[in-house]
């Protein structure tokens, strides 16, 4: 799998928001089973996918993530009974919104990984990392972040015009 010899030009930054009961434990299992996967992922632990606010995903992209993974318990397995069901709807909607403003949804992955699915964790993380690597850096948000333009300054023609017409 991912070995020391393989060097890439681009190492994507991947952030994983996971629930503590299923996916975090699944990732632990991948560890105890000594499975190997790309070291690009940084895991943030939540009690439940229900706690994960869409703002966090947005913020992660803004702060330089090239790919984001959200993962929790399979439907019916939620430690809190219904947190993942609520999350599923919330993210179904948020995903559509991000897609609508032009974010390539290949950078955003959702998955159910149970505490027994160490293999699936490795698969999901590897797949996302490699997919994002092939896509290259997430330029859109970084460019926005770097843009210095202040839209409220009276330099834009529209505002200038509006100002003059008062």
């Amino acid at each position: 799998m991912h070995s020391a010899e393989k060097k890439h030009d681009f190492e994507p930054k991947v952030v994983a928001f996971v629930c503590t009961w299923c996916t975090y434990a699944g990732a632990d299992l991948a560890g105890t089973s000594r499975m190997q996967y790309p070291p690009n992922v940084r895991v943030l632990k939540f009690p439940c996918t229900g706690r994960i606010d869409p703002v966090f995903i947005l913020r992660a992209f803004q702060k330089g993530a090239d790919g984001v993974l959200v993962s929790g318990c399979h439907p019916g397995d939620c430690h809190y009974m219904a947190g993942n069901f609520h999350a599923r709807r919330r993210f179904a909607a948020f995903r559509v919104l991000l897609g609508f403003v032009g974010v390539d949804l290949n950078r955003l992955q959702f998955s159910w990984v149970s505490a027994a699915e160490g293999g699936k964790w490795v698969e999901v993380v590897t797949e996302l990392t490699e997919r994002v690597r092939a896509m290259g850096p997430m330029r859109e948000f970084k460019e926005l972040e770097q843009e210095e333009q202040w839209s409220a300054t009276l330099t834009t023609p529209e505002l200038q015009q509006a100002y003059e017409s008062i």
Partner: protein, 665 residues
């Protein structure tokens, strides 16, 4: 400025083999807010823990991060160590650089960089951590048991025997439930009443048990340790304190032709009645819908003949409020009625079996009453239509169960065994009669169960035909059973005198409504959901509520009794402390900013959010806000993700902590 201590563990070589732990510790020291960092071979060992405690004191640390294995492994260990050194345990966190890093990556450079990142993220989290104190909740040491069948009786007796008070509520006029209706029980064929009635008497006589029969749960408020339950005691029209149970009223009642529900409508009872002779309490009840006094105002015989003047026609329903600390739900089951169902019902009927039209097509419970020595036929198997002894009886299993096309896909679990029992009871009473059983599979796991079933087949000569029945119809006083024998591969037709359907076990009527009152969840069949199918099979996800018996799913008597005792043990465990202590990872509402849109209430899986009125000093309502009941909150945080203004916050996972971690990416 925070003073965080970072402790990087080698875990022998488990971490240090792929992660340069010294470099991680060194880089951690450079992070703003980190006052101390070091690395050590085994942080979880005694010397490691002592190192942590010592550093805490020496460097006056206000937060600790141990970068080592998964917090699922040792978070408790280090929090305890930190606590013993005077730090609030919730200010101690772990960075997982073993399972999530050293064990899953080979590239030392990349793994070290990742480990440093993990430390950086977690330091941000620790910095913004809050000292939390465990939440304590007082416990009222009285239990409510809902349902007076064998499950409720067993749970109530166990709890009461442990010296705790129990309120037992039963919807019917007597406790006993379905088990009281049974003739003999598998796999030992002992008489159900013989083993059941002593327990019923124990309940009646137990000093710690308050029994409310003919009563229903009206409302449940509160949470674990502190429930307030309103019980509706339906008007019995008989004053329990005065009634001596002499039975004169029932024998003098002029209205005696009312089908007796306890005998599955085979026998008759009077309008004032005791459901069955061994009823507990032995206090009659007036069935107002069938009583001449209530319907026409003319009669009053029972009042005239009652010596102690216990009859009260004016009696009204009364509401009783009881404070309890735990609830055991044991509402049992009902049998699937296979009439043609209305079109909108998800459960379909079995019109093709002519149930309800052909009088000699009966269900298993009716057969129990026919076979029972105290039943309407005195224990003789006589068919309902003409009272003749049936020569050929066909039993059909899985009627409604395991029938997706009819709307129920589960196995009712008890039918294989009770059908085998029925064939034996029939054979014992009609020696030359022949029993046929149509079955899908014979499912007999359980101690002595398969032996029992084999006895039915091999010794008692029941003919088992593997296949389903497509249709029943009457022809010349017989019931023609059209079915298939799938093992032989032929269609079979049997002319039966009596057909017994092993109809599916279903949740009690109104199970969903009771669940809504209790705030517990139920599946699509209205069976109550346990908190975890394997590891918490008697607990509800709602703390302080436990399940016993067939209300959770089809169960036989041994399983029901086991679960009832287990539920009782859970209740007794809960009552062993004066106060409950629980993890303080719960949501809190910022009342200043909450606008009371109550979206949090709508998504809370625990029903922990309630409305709270904020009033000024004059008592005028200022606003309504959400309020989280810390005793009930499970700590999932769905409320916070839902709240538009983030006016509710989950301790231990605050937005501030998470945002800081994202910033540090």
């Amino acid at each position: 400025m925070s003073r965080i201590g970072v402790f990087v563990c080698h875990c022998g070589e488990n971490i240090s083999r792929t992660v340069d732990v010294e470099r991680v510790a060194g880089e951690a020291a450079q992070l703003p807010g980190v006052a101390y960092s070091c690395d050590y071979k085994y942080m979880c060992s005694d010397p490691g823990q002592n190192l942590l405690k010592k550093a805490l004191a020496e460097h006056n640390l206000d937060g600790v991060l141990v970068a080592a294995c998964s917090p699922r492994m040792h978070e408790k260990t280090f929090r305890k160590a930190a606590q013993s050194a005077g730090l609030n345990p919730y200010l101690c966190d772990m960075g997982n650089i073993r399972e999530h890093c050293s064990w899953v990556h080979e590239d030392r450079e990349a793994a070290t960089a990742k480990a440093s990142d993990i430390v950086k993220l977690m330091v941000e989290r620790v910095k913004r951590g809050k000292a939390l104190a465990p939440i304590t909740v007082p416990v009222t040491k009285r239990a409510l048991v809902i349902g007076g069948g064998i499950a409720g009786i067993q749970a109530a007796l166990d709890i009461a025997d442990a010296g705790k008070e129990v309120i037992l509520v039963e919807r019917e006029p007597s406790i006993g439930g379905h088990m009281a209706q049974l003739s003999e029980t598998f796999p030992t064929l002992d008489c159900s009443q013989c083993i059941m009635t002593p327990k019923m008497v124990d309940v009646a006589n137990h000093p710690n048990i308050t029994l409310y029969t003919y009563a229903e749960i009206e409302k449940v408020d509160g949470y674990i340790g502190n429930f307030q339950v309103t019980i509706r005691r339906k008007a019995r029209s008989v004053v329990e304190d005065k009634c001596t149970g002499c039975g004169v009223c029932t024998s003098k009642c002029p209205k005696k032709k009312i089908p007796n529900e306890f005998d599955q409508n085979l026998g008759m009872r009077s309008a004032i009645y005791v459901p069955f002779p061994q009823a507990v309490p032995n206090t009659p009840v007036i069935d107002r819908e069938n009583c001449t006094m209530f319907q026409s105002g003319k009669c009053g015989v029972c009042a005239k003949v009652c010596g102690p003047q216990a009859i009260d026609y004016e009696q009204q329903d009364t509401l009783v409020v009881e404070a309890v600390g735990a609830v055991v739900v044991a509402t049992g089951f009902k049998l699937y009625s296979i009439d043609r169902k209305p079109e909108e019902s998800p459960i379909k009927g079995y019109g093709e079996f002519g149930y309800g039209l052909i009088p000699d097509v009966i269900d298993g419970l009716t057969f129990e009453r026919l076979a029972s020595a105290s039943g309407p036929t005195g224990g003789k198997i006589l068919r309902p239509s003409d009272g003749k002894e049936p020569r050929q009886v066909v039993f059909i299993q899985c009627v409604g169960s395991r029938a997706r096309e009819k709307g129920i896909s589960y196995c009712s679990k008890i039918c294989c065994m009770y059908t085998a029992k029925h064939t034996m009871l029939y054979r014992h009473k009609v020696h030359d009669g022949q029993a046929y059983v149509f079955y899908m599979d014979a499912r007999t796991p359980g101690k002595g169960y398969d032996e029992f079933w084999r006895r039915a087949v091999e010794v008692e000569d029941a003919v088992y035909i593997r296949g389903m029945v497509s249709r029943l119809y009457q022809r010349d006083g017989k019931i023609v059973v059209m079915g298939s024998d799938t093992l032989v591969g032929v269609q079979v037709e049997i002319e039966a005198d009596l057909v017994v359907l092993a109809t599916a076990v279903q949740a009690q009527d109104g199970a969903d409504l009771l669940a809504q009152k209790l705030g517990i969840s139920y599946d699509k069949y209205n069976f109550y959901s346990e908190a975890h199918a394997k590891l918490k099979p008697v607990e509800c996800a709602t703390a302080g509520i436990y399940l016993a018996g067939a209300c959770q799913g089809p169960k036989d008597i041994p399983d029901t009794v086991s679960q009832a005792s287990a539920a009782a043990a859970k209740v007794i465990t809960l009552f062993s402390k004066d106060q409950l202590e629980r993890d303080p990872v719960v949501a809190k509402v910022n009342e200043k900013y909450c606008v009371g849109c109550l979206q949090c209430k709508k998504v809370c899986p625990y029903g922990a959010v309630e409305e709270k009125e904020i009033r000024d000093r004059q008592g005028n309502l200022v606003k309504v806000v959400a309020n989280v009941n810390a005793g009930v909150c499970g700590g999932c945080g769905t409320c916070q993700a839902t709240c538009p203004s983030k006016s509710v916050e989950l301790d231990g996972y605050t937005d501030e902590q998470i945002m800081a971690m994202i910033e540090a990416l």
